[in-house]
Amino acid sequence: MKQWPLLRSLSESLTRTLAAHSAYTLRFLSSATASPTFALKNVTKSNFESSLADLRRHVRDADFVAIDLEMTGVTSAPWRESFEFDRFDVQYLKVKDSAEKFAVVQFGVCPFRWDSSRHCFVAHPHNFYVFPRQELPVDGPSYEFLCQTTSIDFLAKYQFDFNACIYEGVSYLSREQENEMLRCLNSECDDEMSLLWRNMKEVRDTPLVSVADVLFSERMKNRFNEWRKELLQDRKGGSQFLETSNDMKQQFQTIFFKMRPALILNGFTAHQLRLIQLVIKKHFKDLVYIRSSGDGSYSELIVYIDSDNDKNLLMKEVKDGLRREAEMKIKTAVGFRHVIDLLSSEQKLIVGHNCLLDIAHIYNKFFGPLPLTAEDFVSSIHKYFPYMIDTKILLNTNNVLKHLMKNGSTSLSKAFASLCPQIASSSKNSGLAFQPWVEVEVQVDDMRSSNWNSGAKHEAGYDAFMTGCVFAQACSNLGIDFKKHSSSANLAHNKNLQKHVNHLYFSWVNGDIIDLGTGNRIAATTVCYNLKRRYPKILFSNIVIVWGFPSQLSSKKIRECISKAFGPISVTTIYHLDETAVFVQFSKPELVADFLVLKETLETIQDPISVLHPLSVLLEGGNTCAASYETYKEICSSPISKVMFADQAKAVGIKWKTKLIESKEKVKTQEDESFSKENGATDAASDPADKSKTRKIEDVIDNLSDDRISGSEIIDSLYAAQTKLSKHIRTTNL
């Protein structure tokens, strides 16, 4: 029962607020003292094209590119938050759900280039406002995204400019969306012609009924005849067009359309245009009626053609024109994705801080729908971004860096403050210079500054900048000498980084790491965050999920009533997903099946004995459902998100109350993966200070727990506190 990481995170959250506070005052002071204060590059619709051109250059020259995203939310329901009890596949389902439902509103991109002449990095922080505006009309579902109220409130607290985002944000199309649009365009273009002909046919079929129509048609026929005659005369004799009456001029204007003489028809009603179309069709072999588009508006034209051949040629030209225009529109609508394409095609080292969710968003928004399994996701992400580094992993797994961080919090702002104090405080001599600080010069347009720090926390562009600074400093501490580093060599191949390249936290809560290159999972490594010890080992085959029980039942009571039925040591852990659902981990996998069978039996037989059975406390109300861990996964994979887990289960369509396990063989085959965590405790550093701390807290807990029940009681309540706390932490960018 070692509970020390919990206490740590409590103190962490305290220090974090303090750190944030001091960072603010420091920044305030610095902006007063340091002269070169200018904002980072904010990019919206209006300056997107020009910024993109600059960014292309910067990214091409860069040694690495740091990124950060701001989203409209993280979890679509409380029970979708990440738990220690999430198996690897469930972790992915939760990330997938989040990336699919929420929108990216800000995207920070900050290319870093080593300037070998001045021995410093040059950073170009960009802050893109992104908004999933629907620029092109398409059928089907409308563009829609979810907002998590607390996240929006969080953004507001950091003065996020929602107006800039919604009014001016750059929109985008994913690769898949673009392909779909082009496909639609192709079929539409083929249709365009048939549509044209069909219209003409229909026009021919309608007889003129009213006298007015007949008169109007006759008048038009004469007009076109005149115009044609003039045209032909003009060809022969070269004389000027005859002066026509004023109103004629207004309605018919002669121009050249695709090198052919043509008349623009102005100010006619749709009905009149239909009649004109009919007249042309009926009486003029060498005139065609055309609807052409340009500058976003349509115009109706009568074009003179030499021959049928010429006519086909003209039609083709018109069609191609329409097509080109549509293609241009689609290209413009690709918008912000050009930045992602750039990052992907340049194959630069991408640096993020705890960035798995960011990567999932990038995939979902700019490439296509997320794959169904984590394995597929990992392999396809690796194709798009072959080199990635997560600074949070760097800080937590490397002993040198861990020591530098004093084993404290590795939140971005904390890491920035402790690793790059000379930047965070904007003064070069603050760090007493016992350490070689990596200098970072910031360039925005024509402004340069070597002690720039005028960004705001949780602004994507500034967060990307901080991430990049942390990475640069971390590299230096890992013994990478940038002075010797040639710009042509890829930083990702540096041997000092080899252990960390393409490693991402799959779930920060569990400390599960995935290697994108190989697709292998690496077990939670650090002693510092050996969260596994917080719970007895998690065995997914020993877990049942129970929901819909009476709301006042606490973990303690649930533990009691199950223990009464299955023996005092039957229950290892009770974990609340939310107030309507718990995981119960049994000491033996057989107990899962036993529990489900007993529950089923008690519910079908309504005799006095079953009413008095200890388990009946849990079944009171008649809505209690239970199933194995697999059902939990199934429920997580549903696109529906109800706030309460019990409601979710109902909405997903679960109608049974107990799902028995077919055979015990099956349980064995579904054996969980948590074992793999055991293997790779590679970095399990033996920090003496750390160990003593652990022991101390263990002692405290041992003293507290006089007997087993009360001990686990305390743990249960600590879990509850921990969930609350981690909730708080998760909303602040870890």
């Binding site: 409308s142 995204f145 929006i152 107006n163 009014y167 006042q552 909405a651």
Partner: protein
């Protein structure tokens, strides 16, 4: 400043007071008398979206129940950003209006995950709000939060704010042994604690001793008075504690501490120094409670004001508007339309829909949006109605929330055209003037209740409408690629003998079409044919290619079970897979027999609403 303008052409001059957190309580004060003095209250909501897929909007062939299911789905999903309220009266040919536009944001003020964990936004809705110059920063930073009535009671329990308790019922029954023991224990504990308090207040102890004593006695301070918490296990014990206190101790004030899951966890006993001090404390507690309530319910106070006034509430598209109002400010929407109507009527007894009133006037029958209605009125009728807004309007007040004025003006116009005079309008004593009674509480967007209010008929807006029983409707989907209605009709014509009779085809969305059989019984023949083994010819070919068909009941089922897939085809497939639960179906959708539907020759999906 009195602004008096004539007609709708000058509507830019109409000023609507914008309300955020900062001026909310001040606005509330002025709104209170204005509501109680007005004839009507117009409301209009600006939402973050309304339907996610084409078929999710209310379609002409929807029954009241399916239309409600759609409205319910949207109301649960989207959020209200602006809520315009306008109490108004009609006097002679003048509308006196007090328009306010409240900016709302569902901020979790109490940190208890309410009013809303998350909400959806449709980008097109946000973009169109942006085109109107809406300030999202103001809305999100300073919008007023709220809790629904249902949420408020949950919140009170969850925050665990102490509740003053004044009503002590003296139980007549003689106490049991257990009770007697409990009473004695409480009595001695309180006595002991009281004397200790009195003692210590006179003695100047060391800090350590003081805190030790506090620890031992379990004594705390509440509003700078000593207090102690007495744990209780049941409501019965609460009652016993209160009795003891009432009987033996005059200078103690009890407070109930709610438990997390409802009920009472403990009784907090506060020691007062004198009778005056006791009164003072009681007053303090009362103020505290009121303040607490205000903080908790936020904007809902406006809803409560309107409800308490029992004034007729006027809106446009009342089904959607009131589904949102019910869901956000009253309680979660019930699955059934009838329950919704009942529940709503308890809060708003008279709801008028201008959209429905317009259906009474020939030229306005087809009009579905407010601006079109206004211009149509201006063209067709001469109704000189003045607008008077006796507001202190500042220049910053922008045009947001204008619809509520349009609604007020439109209602006055319509009343005038329908010859409902101001004298008849003025309602008295909570009863709607009988002239308007007939138009109230009609929630179906396509209904004209005057013709057939009983059979739940559905009417489409065109002149060329024909009545068709819902039994004559068949949904078909699963055809290859994009199809036009015409193409599909041609295809069907040669496929089976039922199509030699008159029938119509319309696309519902890209994936699904609806077929109308004008001759009764043919739809059944077709449905049987398509699922039989003897299917042959072209129809067989089409079915092999994936064509599927289902009757109207399947559509109803999809709506009832909430299968809101993006394509109607997917939803119908899902509904077909779902086994029938008759017992459940009966309780939710009463077997009212086939609904009458008015079929329109026009395009079935009306796209001019956006």
């Amino acid at each position: 400043m009195w602004l008096q303008r004539r007609g709708l052409s000058t509507k830019r001059e109409w000023r609507v007071k914008q309300v955020t957190k900062s001026n909310f309580s001040q606005t509330l004060e002025s709104l209170k008398p204005q509501i109680s003095q007005s004839d009507f209250v117009a409301v209009s909501l600006q939402k973050t979206g309304s339907f996610s897929a084409p078929w999710h909007r209310v379609l002409p062939f929807d029954t009241p129940q399916t239309a409600y299911s759609k409205a319910r789905f949207a109301a649960d999903k989207f959020q209200v950003f602006q809520f315009a309220v306008c109490p108004f009266s009609v006097r002679a040919s003048k509308v006196v209006a007090h328009p306010y536009n409240f900016h709302l944001f569902p901020r979790d003020e109490l940190k208890i995950g309410m009013p809303s964990y998350s909400f959806s936004c449709q980008t097109s809705y946000l973009a169109s709000m942006a085109r109107e110059g809406f300030d999202f920063n103001v809305c999100i930073y300073d919008g007023i939060s709220y809790l629904s009535r249902a949420q408020e009671s949950v919140a009170n329990a969850r925050i665990g704010n102490p509740i003053p308790s004044n009503n002590v019922k003296t139980s007549s029954s003689t106490p049991s042994v257990a009770d007697a023991v409990f009473i004695e224990r409480i009595k001695s504990r309180v006595k002991h604690w009281k004397s200790a308090c009195r003692d210590s207040s006179t003695r100047a102890d060391e800090a350590l001793v003081k805190s030790l004593r506090k620890l031992i006695l379990g004594s705390e301070e509440y509003r700078s008075r000593p207090c102690v918490n007495l744990d209780v296990c049941s409501e019965h014990q609460v009652q016993l504690v209160l009795e003891v206190l009432g009987e033996f101790f005059d200078d103690l004030v009890p407070l109930l501490i709610p438990a997390k899951g409802g009920g009472t966890q403990a009784v907090r006993v506060i020691l007062t120094s004198s009778e005056e001090d006791k009164d003072l404390l009681k007053r303090e507690l009362q103020d505290l409670e009121e303040e607490q309530n205000k903080r908790v319910c936020g904007f809902r106070e406006v809803i409560d004001l309107i409800s308490a006034s029992q004034k007729p509430v006027v809106s446009h598209n009342s089904l959607n508007e009131f589904a949102f109002i019910h869901s956000k400010f009253l309680s979660p929407l019930p699955p059934n339309m009838d329950e919704f109507m009942c529940s709503l009527r308890m809060v708003f007894p008279h709801v008028l829909d201008v959209n429905h009133l317009m259906k009474e006037i020939g030229p306005l029958k087809k009009v579905t949006n407010l601006s079109a209605a206004a211009s149509c009125l201006k063209r067709r009728f001469f109704v000189p109605i003045d607008m008077e807004i006796p507001h202190q309007a500042s220049n910053e007040d922008k045009i947001h929330g204008h619809n509520v004025l349009k609604i007020s003006h439109l209602l006055a116009n319509l009343c005038s055209i329908l010859k409902i005079t101001p004298e008849m309008i003025q309602s008295d004593g909570g009863h709607l003037a009988s002239a308007l009674e007939g138009y109230a509480n009609i929630f179906h967007p396509h209904s004209t209740n005057t013709e057939d209010p009983i059979d739940g008929g559905i009417k489409v807006w065109t002149d060329d409408t024909r009545k068709v029983s819902s039994e004559g409707l068949v949904f078909i989907w699963g055809f290859r690629g994009r199809m036009s209605a015409g193409g599909l009709k041609r295809l069907l014509q040669g496929s089976h003998s039922v199509f030699s009779e008159e029938f119509d085809v319309r696309m519902v969305d890209g994936s699904c079409a609806i077929v109308v059989f004008w001759q009764s019984g043919l739809s059944q023949t077709f449905l049987e044919a398509i699922s039989s083994n003897w299917i042959s010819g072209l129809l067989r070919e089409m079915v092999s290619e994936g064509l599927r068909a289902a009757g109207y009941e399947t559509y109803k089922k999809a709506c009832r079970l909430g299968f809101w897939e993006a394509d109607l085809a997917d939803s119908l497939d899902k509904a077909l897979e779902e086994p029938d639960h008759n017992s459940e179906a009966d309780s939710e959708a009463k077997p009212t027999g086939p609904s009458q539907i008015y079929w329109s020759r026009d395009s079935i999906i009306n796209l001019d609403e956006l």
